[in-house]
Protein backbone atom coordinates (compact mmCIF):
# COMPACT_ATOMS: atom_id res chain seq x y z
CA UNK A 1 0.00 0.00 0.00
CA UNK A 2 2.74 2.42 0.88
CA UNK A 3 5.87 2.52 -1.16
CA UNK A 4 8.37 5.19 -0.35
CA UNK A 5 9.75 6.91 2.69
CA UNK A 6 9.20 10.53 1.53
CA UNK A 7 5.53 9.64 1.33
CA UNK A 8 5.67 8.16 4.80
CA UNK A 9 7.38 11.20 6.29
CA UNK A 10 4.97 13.55 4.64
CA UNK A 11 2.01 11.49 5.81
CA UNK A 12 3.35 11.26 9.33
CA UNK A 13 4.35 14.78 10.20
CA UNK A 14 2.33 17.20 8.16
CA UNK A 15 -1.14 15.68 8.30
CA UNK A 16 -3.88 16.40 10.81
CA UNK A 17 -4.00 13.88 13.65
CA UNK A 18 -7.65 12.92 13.70
CA UNK A 19 -9.42 10.75 16.26
CA UNK A 20 -12.94 9.61 15.36
CA UNK A 21 -15.65 10.67 17.82
CA UNK A 22 -16.84 7.12 18.53
CA UNK A 23 -13.43 5.58 18.93
CA UNK A 24 -12.17 4.28 22.24
CA UNK A 25 -9.58 7.03 22.77
CA UNK A 26 -7.21 5.15 25.07
CA UNK A 27 -6.98 1.95 23.03
CA UNK A 28 -7.00 3.94 19.78
CA UNK A 29 -3.86 5.74 20.91
CA UNK A 30 -2.30 2.68 22.50
CA UNK A 31 -2.55 0.35 19.47
CA UNK A 32 0.01 1.99 17.15
CA UNK A 33 2.37 2.22 20.09
CA UNK A 34 2.09 -1.52 20.75
CA UNK A 35 2.62 -2.31 17.08
CA UNK A 36 5.72 -0.14 16.89
CA UNK A 37 7.15 -1.21 20.26
CA UNK A 38 6.76 -4.91 19.54
CA UNK A 39 8.28 -4.53 16.09
CA UNK A 40 11.32 -2.75 17.49
CA UNK A 41 12.15 -4.98 20.48
CA UNK A 42 12.57 -8.08 18.33
CA UNK A 43 15.85 -6.65 17.06
CA UNK A 44 17.47 -7.16 20.47
CA UNK A 45 17.97 -10.90 20.11
CA UNK A 46 19.37 -10.92 16.59
CA UNK A 47 23.13 -11.30 16.26
CA UNK A 48 24.23 -8.52 13.95
CA UNK A 49 27.83 -9.67 13.84
CA UNK A 50 30.64 -11.48 15.64
CA UNK A 51 32.75 -9.82 18.35
CA UNK A 52 34.72 -6.61 18.00
CA UNK A 53 37.95 -6.38 20.01
CA UNK A 54 38.47 -2.72 20.88
CA UNK A 55 40.88 -1.26 23.50
CA UNK A 56 41.24 -4.55 25.29
CA UNK A 57 37.50 -5.28 25.59
CA UNK A 58 35.33 -7.59 23.55
CA UNK A 59 32.09 -6.16 22.23
CA UNK A 60 29.53 -8.63 20.92
CA UNK A 61 27.47 -7.14 18.11
CA UNK A 62 24.26 -8.37 19.64
CA UNK A 63 22.16 -6.48 22.15
CA UNK A 64 21.25 -9.49 24.26
CA UNK A 65 22.54 -13.00 23.65
CA UNK A 66 19.46 -14.70 25.04
CA UNK A 67 19.79 -18.44 25.34
CA UNK A 68 16.13 -18.61 24.30
CA UNK A 69 16.47 -16.06 21.48
CA UNK A 70 14.13 -17.81 19.06
CA UNK A 71 11.49 -18.36 21.68
CA UNK A 72 11.71 -14.70 22.65
CA UNK A 73 11.27 -13.56 19.04
CA UNK A 74 8.32 -15.79 18.26
CA UNK A 75 6.71 -14.76 21.54
CA UNK A 76 7.14 -11.07 20.87
CA UNK A 77 5.97 -11.38 17.28
CA UNK A 78 2.74 -12.97 18.46
CA UNK A 79 2.13 -9.97 20.73
CA UNK A 80 2.28 -7.83 17.59
CA UNK A 81 -1.20 -8.99 16.68
CA UNK A 82 -2.55 -7.07 19.70
CA UNK A 83 -1.54 -3.77 18.15
CA UNK A 84 -3.50 -4.52 15.01
CA UNK A 85 -6.44 -6.11 16.81
CA UNK A 86 -6.82 -3.24 19.29
CA UNK A 87 -6.38 -0.67 16.55
CA UNK A 88 -9.13 -2.19 14.46
CA UNK A 89 -11.47 -2.69 17.40
CA UNK A 90 -10.96 0.71 19.00
CA UNK A 91 -11.65 2.52 15.72
CA UNK A 92 -15.32 1.58 15.99
CA UNK A 93 -15.54 1.14 12.25
CA UNK A 94 -16.69 -2.03 10.54
CA UNK A 95 -14.00 -2.01 7.90
CA UNK A 96 -11.34 -1.60 10.55
CA UNK A 97 -12.87 -4.39 12.61
CA UNK A 98 -13.06 -6.74 9.62
CA UNK A 99 -9.45 -5.95 8.80
CA UNK A 100 -8.43 -6.63 12.38
CA UNK A 101 -10.29 -9.94 12.46
CA UNK A 102 -8.62 -10.99 9.25
CA UNK A 103 -5.24 -9.87 10.53
CA UNK A 104 -5.48 -11.74 13.79
CA UNK A 105 -6.79 -14.98 12.31
CA UNK A 106 -4.17 -14.86 9.58
CA UNK A 107 -1.29 -14.15 11.92
CA UNK A 108 -2.34 -16.84 14.37
CA UNK A 109 -2.75 -19.41 11.57
CA UNK A 110 0.62 -18.76 10.05
CA UNK A 111 2.47 -18.60 13.35
CA UNK A 112 1.90 -22.33 13.71
CA UNK A 113 3.55 -23.27 10.45
CA UNK A 114 6.37 -20.87 11.17
CA UNK A 115 6.91 -22.23 14.66
CA UNK A 116 7.08 -25.83 13.50
CA UNK A 117 9.49 -24.87 10.72
CA UNK A 118 11.73 -23.25 13.30
CA UNK A 119 11.53 -26.33 15.54
CA UNK A 120 13.26 -28.34 12.80
CA UNK A 121 16.15 -25.84 12.88
CA UNK A 122 16.29 -25.99 16.66
CA UNK A 123 16.40 -29.80 16.53
CA UNK A 124 19.33 -29.66 14.12
CA UNK A 125 21.38 -27.17 16.07
CA UNK A 126 20.33 -28.25 19.53
CA UNK A 127 20.15 -24.66 20.74
CA UNK A 128 17.57 -21.90 21.07
CA UNK A 129 20.21 -19.17 21.01
CA UNK A 130 20.32 -17.36 17.68
CA UNK A 131 24.02 -16.62 18.03
CA UNK A 132 24.75 -20.31 18.57
CA UNK A 133 22.66 -21.26 15.53
CA UNK A 134 24.51 -18.72 13.39
CA UNK A 135 27.91 -19.89 14.64
CA UNK A 136 27.09 -23.49 13.77
CA UNK A 137 26.57 -22.45 10.16
CA UNK A 138 30.17 -21.23 9.83
CA UNK A 139 31.94 -22.34 6.72
CA UNK A 140 29.39 -23.02 4.08
CA UNK A 141 27.09 -25.20 6.21
CA UNK A 142 24.10 -22.95 5.75
CA UNK A 143 20.85 -24.40 6.99
CA UNK A 144 19.15 -23.73 3.68
CA UNK A 145 20.99 -26.76 2.25
CA UNK A 146 19.59 -29.02 4.99
CA UNK A 147 16.17 -27.39 5.41
CA UNK A 148 14.94 -26.20 1.98
CA UNK A 149 11.33 -27.10 2.74
CA UNK A 150 11.57 -25.50 6.15
CA UNK A 151 12.85 -22.33 4.55
CA UNK A 152 10.01 -22.31 2.05
CA UNK A 153 7.49 -22.64 4.86
CA UNK A 154 9.26 -20.01 6.91
CA UNK A 155 9.39 -17.43 4.13
CA UNK A 156 5.73 -17.97 3.22
CA UNK A 157 4.72 -17.53 6.85
CA UNK A 158 6.95 -14.48 7.16
CA UNK A 159 5.07 -12.87 4.31
CA UNK A 160 1.79 -13.62 6.05
CA UNK A 161 3.06 -12.39 9.43
CA UNK A 162 4.17 -9.09 7.95
CA UNK A 163 0.85 -8.67 6.11
CA UNK A 164 2.67 -8.25 2.83
CA UNK A 165 1.31 -9.24 -0.56
CA UNK A 166 0.14 -11.84 -1.49
CA UNK A 167 -1.22 -12.05 2.08
CA UNK A 168 -2.16 -8.42 2.64
CA UNK A 169 -5.82 -9.15 3.28
CA UNK A 170 -5.95 -7.18 6.56
CA UNK A 171 -5.51 -3.94 4.67
CA UNK A 172 -6.86 -4.76 1.24
CA UNK A 173 -8.02 -1.49 -0.20
CA UNK A 174 -10.61 -2.81 -2.60
CA UNK A 175 -12.74 -4.48 0.05
CA UNK A 176 -11.86 -2.81 3.34
CA UNK A 177 -10.83 0.76 2.43
CA UNK A 178 -7.63 0.44 4.48
CA UNK A 179 -8.34 -2.45 6.83
CA UNK A 180 -7.38 -2.07 10.46
CA UNK A 181 -5.86 1.39 9.96
CA UNK A 182 -8.81 2.89 8.07
CA UNK A 183 -9.44 5.49 10.78
CA UNK A 184 -5.83 6.31 11.48
CA UNK A 185 -4.01 9.34 10.23
CA UNK A 186 -0.81 11.23 10.72
CA UNK A 187 1.89 9.80 12.97
CA UNK A 188 -0.29 6.95 14.24
CA UNK A 189 -0.78 5.69 10.71
CA UNK A 190 2.92 6.26 10.28
CA UNK A 191 3.58 3.99 13.27
CA UNK A 192 1.46 1.19 11.79
CA UNK A 193 3.17 1.53 8.43
CA UNK A 194 6.57 1.79 9.96
CA UNK A 195 6.04 -1.24 12.19
CA UNK A 196 5.21 -3.19 9.04
CA UNK A 197 8.54 -2.15 7.57
CA UNK A 198 10.43 -2.94 10.74
CA UNK A 199 8.76 -6.36 10.83
CA UNK A 200 9.86 -6.89 7.26
CA UNK A 201 13.43 -5.97 8.18
CA UNK A 202 13.43 -8.22 11.24
CA UNK A 203 12.03 -11.21 9.38
CA UNK A 204 14.64 -10.68 6.67
CA UNK A 205 17.30 -10.67 9.38
CA UNK A 206 15.80 -13.84 10.87
CA UNK A 207 15.76 -15.59 7.51
CA UNK A 208 19.36 -14.60 6.94
CA UNK A 209 20.37 -15.79 10.42
CA UNK A 210 18.40 -19.01 10.54
CA UNK A 211 18.89 -20.25 7.00
CA UNK A 212 21.63 -18.26 5.27
CA UNK A 213 24.42 -18.30 7.81
CA UNK A 214 23.78 -14.89 9.36
CA UNK A 215 27.03 -12.95 9.52
CA UNK A 216 29.09 -15.89 8.21
CA UNK A 217 30.80 -15.48 4.88
CA UNK A 218 31.95 -18.62 3.13
CA UNK A 219 35.74 -19.03 2.67
CA UNK A 220 36.54 -15.73 4.41
CA UNK A 221 38.69 -17.45 7.06
CA UNK A 222 41.24 -18.44 4.43
CA UNK A 223 42.13 -14.79 3.73
CA UNK A 224 43.84 -14.41 7.11
CA UNK A 225 42.30 -11.05 7.98
CA UNK A 226 42.41 -9.59 11.52
CA UNK A 227 39.48 -10.38 13.80
CA UNK A 228 37.91 -6.89 13.78
CA UNK A 229 37.93 -6.62 9.99
CA UNK A 230 36.38 -10.07 9.78
CA UNK A 231 33.61 -9.03 12.15
CA UNK A 232 32.82 -5.84 10.24
CA UNK A 233 32.87 -7.69 6.92
CA UNK A 234 30.52 -10.27 8.43
CA UNK A 235 28.07 -7.56 9.53
CA UNK A 236 28.21 -6.02 6.06
CA UNK A 237 27.55 -9.42 4.58
CA UNK A 238 24.58 -9.96 6.91
CA UNK A 239 23.13 -6.63 5.79
CA UNK A 240 23.67 -7.59 2.15
CA UNK A 241 21.58 -10.71 2.81
CA UNK A 242 18.92 -8.68 4.63
CA UNK A 243 18.72 -6.21 1.77
CA UNK A 244 18.34 -9.03 -0.67
CA UNK A 245 15.40 -10.40 1.32
CA UNK A 246 13.79 -6.97 1.54
CA UNK A 247 14.18 -6.69 -2.20
CA UNK A 248 12.57 -10.11 -2.45
CA UNK A 249 9.63 -8.88 -0.36
CA UNK A 250 9.14 -6.01 -2.79
CA UNK A 251 9.76 -8.21 -5.79
CA UNK A 252 6.95 -10.53 -4.68
CA UNK A 253 4.76 -7.52 -4.09
CA UNK A 254 5.24 -6.38 -7.68
CA UNK A 255 4.44 -9.86 -8.96
CA UNK A 256 1.81 -11.81 -7.09
CA UNK A 257 -1.78 -10.69 -6.60
CA UNK A 258 -3.60 -11.10 -3.31
CA UNK A 259 -4.98 -14.47 -2.19
CA UNK A 260 -8.66 -15.03 -1.56
CA UNK A 261 -9.50 -15.45 2.11
CA UNK A 262 -10.43 -19.15 1.92
CA UNK A 263 -7.31 -19.86 -0.13
CA UNK A 264 -5.28 -18.14 2.54
CA UNK A 265 -6.74 -20.29 5.30
CA UNK A 266 -6.44 -23.41 3.13
CA UNK A 267 -2.78 -22.72 2.51
CA UNK A 268 -2.06 -22.01 6.14
CA UNK A 269 -3.86 -24.89 7.83
CA UNK A 270 -4.09 -27.63 5.22
CA UNK A 271 -0.82 -27.20 3.35
CA UNK A 272 1.83 -25.41 5.36
CA UNK A 273 1.09 -26.92 8.76
CA UNK A 274 1.10 -30.60 7.64
CA UNK A 275 4.14 -29.90 5.48
CA UNK A 276 5.92 -28.37 8.44
CA UNK A 277 5.09 -31.37 10.60
CA UNK A 278 6.35 -33.78 7.93
CA UNK A 279 9.48 -31.68 7.64
CA UNK A 280 9.97 -31.85 11.40
CA UNK A 281 9.50 -35.63 11.43
CA UNK A 282 11.93 -36.07 8.55
CA UNK A 283 14.50 -33.93 10.33
CA UNK A 284 14.03 -35.97 13.49
CA UNK A 285 14.48 -39.20 11.52
CA UNK A 286 17.62 -37.90 9.84
CA UNK A 287 19.12 -36.87 13.18
CA UNK A 288 18.32 -40.30 14.65
CA UNK A 289 19.94 -42.06 11.67
CA UNK A 290 23.03 -39.86 11.89
CA UNK A 291 23.48 -40.54 15.59
CA UNK A 292 23.21 -44.28 14.91
CA UNK A 293 19.73 -44.76 16.39
Amino acid sequence: MVYCSPWLTEQSFFKEDFTPAHADKFLFNLAPGIAMFVALITGAAIPWGGTLHLFGTDYALQIADLNIGILYISGVVSIGVYGIMLGGWASNNKFALLGAIRASSQMISYEIGMGIAIIAIVMMSGSLSLDEIVRQQAGFHWNIFYQPIGFLIFITCAFAECNRTPFDLPECEQELVGGYHTEYSSMKLGFFMFSEYVNMFISSALMASLYFGGYNMPFIDQLGLPQNVLTLLGTAFLFAKIFFFIFFFMWIRWTIPRFRYDQLMHLGWKVLMPLAIVNMLLTGGAILLKNGL
Partner: protein, 177 residues
Protein backbone atom coordinates in the same frame (compact mmCIF):
# COMPACT_ATOMS: atom_id res chain seq x y z
CA UNK B 1 -22.59 -18.40 -34.41
CA UNK B 2 -19.48 -16.54 -33.38
CA UNK B 3 -19.63 -12.77 -33.61
CA UNK B 4 -15.90 -12.37 -33.17
CA UNK B 5 -13.00 -14.78 -33.08
CA UNK B 6 -11.90 -13.57 -29.71
CA UNK B 7 -14.04 -15.75 -27.45
CA UNK B 8 -12.21 -18.45 -25.52
CA UNK B 9 -13.50 -21.78 -24.32
CA UNK B 10 -13.14 -21.90 -20.57
CA UNK B 11 -11.80 -25.16 -19.26
CA UNK B 12 -12.36 -26.11 -15.65
CA UNK B 13 -9.95 -28.99 -15.50
CA UNK B 14 -8.31 -30.05 -12.27
CA UNK B 15 -4.98 -28.38 -11.62
CA UNK B 16 -1.93 -30.56 -12.03
CA UNK B 17 0.44 -31.06 -9.12
CA UNK B 18 2.96 -28.49 -10.34
CA UNK B 19 0.15 -25.95 -10.77
CA UNK B 20 -1.15 -26.71 -7.29
CA UNK B 21 2.29 -26.09 -5.84
CA UNK B 22 2.16 -22.50 -7.18
CA UNK B 23 5.96 -22.43 -7.08
CA UNK B 24 6.74 -22.81 -10.82
CA UNK B 25 4.16 -20.14 -11.61
CA UNK B 26 5.59 -17.84 -8.95
CA UNK B 27 9.11 -18.34 -10.31
CA UNK B 28 7.94 -17.51 -13.84
CA UNK B 29 6.16 -14.44 -12.55
CA UNK B 30 9.22 -13.25 -10.67
CA UNK B 31 11.24 -13.70 -13.85
CA UNK B 32 8.81 -11.57 -15.82
CA UNK B 33 8.91 -8.85 -13.16
CA UNK B 34 12.70 -8.85 -13.20
CA UNK B 35 12.72 -8.62 -16.98
CA UNK B 36 10.54 -5.53 -16.87
CA UNK B 37 12.76 -4.10 -14.15
CA UNK B 38 15.53 -3.66 -16.71
CA UNK B 39 13.40 -2.59 -19.61
CA UNK B 40 12.73 0.96 -20.74
CA UNK B 41 10.08 2.50 -18.53
CA UNK B 42 6.69 3.29 -19.96
CA UNK B 43 6.23 6.20 -17.55
CA UNK B 44 7.54 9.78 -17.56
CA UNK B 45 8.29 11.78 -14.44
CA UNK B 46 5.84 14.55 -15.21
CA UNK B 47 6.11 17.57 -15.08
CA UNK B 48 9.89 17.53 -15.59
CA UNK B 49 9.48 15.33 -18.64
CA UNK B 50 6.41 15.70 -20.78
CA UNK B 51 4.94 13.29 -23.22
CA UNK B 52 4.66 14.37 -26.85
CA UNK B 53 1.10 14.97 -27.93
CA UNK B 54 -0.30 13.44 -31.07
CA UNK B 55 -0.89 16.00 -33.84
CA UNK B 56 -4.65 15.58 -33.46
CA UNK B 57 -4.61 16.30 -29.71
CA UNK B 58 -7.39 18.71 -28.76
CA UNK B 59 -6.63 20.67 -25.61
CA UNK B 60 -7.49 23.97 -23.94
CA UNK B 61 -9.24 26.52 -26.14
CA UNK B 62 -7.95 29.86 -27.33
CA UNK B 63 -9.92 32.85 -28.64
CA UNK B 64 -7.80 34.26 -31.43
CA UNK B 65 -7.05 37.87 -32.29
CA UNK B 66 -6.49 39.02 -35.84
CA UNK B 67 -3.26 40.45 -37.20
CA UNK B 68 -4.01 43.91 -35.79
CA UNK B 69 -4.69 42.42 -32.39
CA UNK B 70 -8.47 42.78 -32.43
CA UNK B 71 -10.64 39.92 -31.13
CA UNK B 72 -12.11 37.89 -33.95
CA UNK B 73 -15.18 36.56 -32.15
CA UNK B 74 -18.46 38.20 -33.06
CA UNK B 75 -20.62 36.51 -30.45
CA UNK B 76 -22.76 34.77 -33.06
CA UNK B 77 -23.33 31.87 -30.68
CA UNK B 78 -22.78 29.16 -33.27
CA UNK B 79 -20.15 27.50 -31.11
CA UNK B 80 -22.54 27.40 -28.17
CA UNK B 81 -25.21 25.84 -30.37
CA UNK B 82 -22.76 23.30 -31.75
CA UNK B 83 -21.44 22.35 -28.36
CA UNK B 84 -22.84 18.92 -27.39
CA UNK B 85 -21.87 19.42 -23.76
CA UNK B 86 -23.46 22.89 -23.48
CA UNK B 87 -20.24 24.17 -22.06
CA UNK B 88 -20.17 27.58 -23.74
CA UNK B 89 -22.09 30.66 -22.61
CA UNK B 90 -21.67 34.23 -23.80
CA UNK B 91 -23.16 37.69 -23.57
CA UNK B 92 -22.93 39.87 -26.68
CA UNK B 93 -22.35 43.62 -26.76
CA UNK B 94 -22.15 46.28 -29.43
CA UNK B 95 -18.82 47.77 -30.36
CA UNK B 96 -18.60 51.49 -29.48
CA UNK B 97 -16.84 54.06 -31.59
CA UNK B 98 -13.12 54.06 -30.88
CA UNK B 99 -13.05 50.36 -30.01
CA UNK B 100 -12.25 49.24 -33.54
CA UNK B 101 -8.74 48.24 -32.53
CA UNK B 102 -10.16 45.94 -29.84
CA UNK B 103 -12.93 44.07 -31.67
CA UNK B 104 -12.91 43.19 -35.32
CA UNK B 105 -16.69 42.98 -35.84
CA UNK B 106 -19.44 45.39 -34.83
CA UNK B 107 -20.76 42.92 -32.29
CA UNK B 108 -18.47 41.22 -29.83
CA UNK B 109 -18.60 38.90 -26.84
CA UNK B 110 -18.60 40.95 -23.68
CA UNK B 111 -18.49 37.82 -21.64
CA UNK B 112 -17.43 34.45 -22.98
CA UNK B 113 -17.16 31.44 -20.72
CA UNK B 114 -16.32 27.79 -21.26
CA UNK B 115 -16.94 25.38 -18.44
CA UNK B 116 -13.93 23.08 -18.66
CA UNK B 117 -15.61 20.48 -16.45
CA UNK B 118 -18.41 20.10 -19.00
CA UNK B 119 -16.29 20.37 -22.12
CA UNK B 120 -15.49 17.05 -23.76
CA UNK B 121 -12.87 18.54 -26.10
CA UNK B 122 -14.73 17.37 -29.18
CA UNK B 123 -13.68 20.38 -31.24
CA UNK B 124 -17.15 21.05 -32.63
CA UNK B 125 -16.98 24.70 -31.49
CA UNK B 126 -13.88 25.10 -33.59
CA UNK B 127 -15.64 23.60 -36.61
CA UNK B 128 -18.75 25.71 -36.12
CA UNK B 129 -17.01 29.06 -35.85
CA UNK B 130 -17.43 31.16 -39.02
CA UNK B 131 -14.87 33.73 -37.93
CA UNK B 132 -11.99 31.36 -37.15
CA UNK B 133 -12.05 32.77 -33.66
CA UNK B 134 -11.98 29.69 -31.45
CA UNK B 135 -9.41 26.93 -31.69
CA UNK B 136 -8.44 24.03 -29.55
CA UNK B 137 -4.71 24.01 -28.87
CA UNK B 138 -2.03 21.58 -27.81
CA UNK B 139 -2.03 23.03 -24.30
CA UNK B 140 -3.65 21.16 -21.42
CA UNK B 141 -6.29 22.28 -18.97
CA UNK B 142 -4.56 22.33 -15.61
CA UNK B 143 -5.95 20.85 -12.42
CA UNK B 144 -7.59 23.25 -9.99
CA UNK B 145 -8.66 23.14 -6.36
CA UNK B 146 -12.15 24.63 -6.85
CA UNK B 147 -14.89 24.00 -9.34
CA UNK B 148 -15.46 27.71 -10.10
CA UNK B 149 -11.96 28.09 -11.37
CA UNK B 150 -12.69 25.57 -14.10
CA UNK B 151 -15.06 28.08 -15.72
CA UNK B 152 -12.65 29.87 -18.01
CA UNK B 153 -13.56 33.47 -18.80
CA UNK B 154 -12.14 35.75 -21.45
CA UNK B 155 -9.12 36.45 -19.25
CA UNK B 156 -8.00 32.87 -19.72
CA UNK B 157 -9.34 32.23 -23.21
CA UNK B 158 -8.36 35.25 -25.29
CA UNK B 159 -4.75 35.07 -26.38
CA UNK B 160 -2.51 37.85 -25.05
CA UNK B 161 -1.39 40.28 -27.77
CA UNK B 162 2.26 39.77 -27.03
CA UNK B 163 2.08 35.99 -26.65
CA UNK B 164 0.27 34.67 -29.68
CA UNK B 165 -0.80 31.02 -29.52
CA UNK B 166 0.26 28.99 -32.50
CA UNK B 167 -2.80 26.97 -33.51
CA UNK B 168 -1.12 25.43 -36.54
CA UNK B 169 0.74 23.02 -34.23
CA UNK B 170 -2.37 20.92 -34.05
CA UNK B 171 -2.72 20.58 -37.78
CA UNK B 172 -5.74 21.84 -39.67
CA UNK B 173 -9.14 21.54 -38.04
CA UNK B 174 -11.25 18.93 -39.70
CA UNK B 175 -13.48 20.09 -42.52
CA UNK B 176 -11.10 22.86 -43.55
CA UNK B 177 -8.08 22.80 -45.79
Amino acid sequence: MLLTNRSKVVSKKEMTLSEKLYLPAIATGLGITLKHFFQKKATFSYPEVQREFAPVFRGRHVLKRDDQGAERCTACGLCAVACPAEAITMIAAERKRGEEHLYREEKYAEKYEINMLRCIFCGLCEEACPKEAIFLTDRITTAEYHRDTFIYGKDKLVEPIDQRVDVSLRGKPSGRD
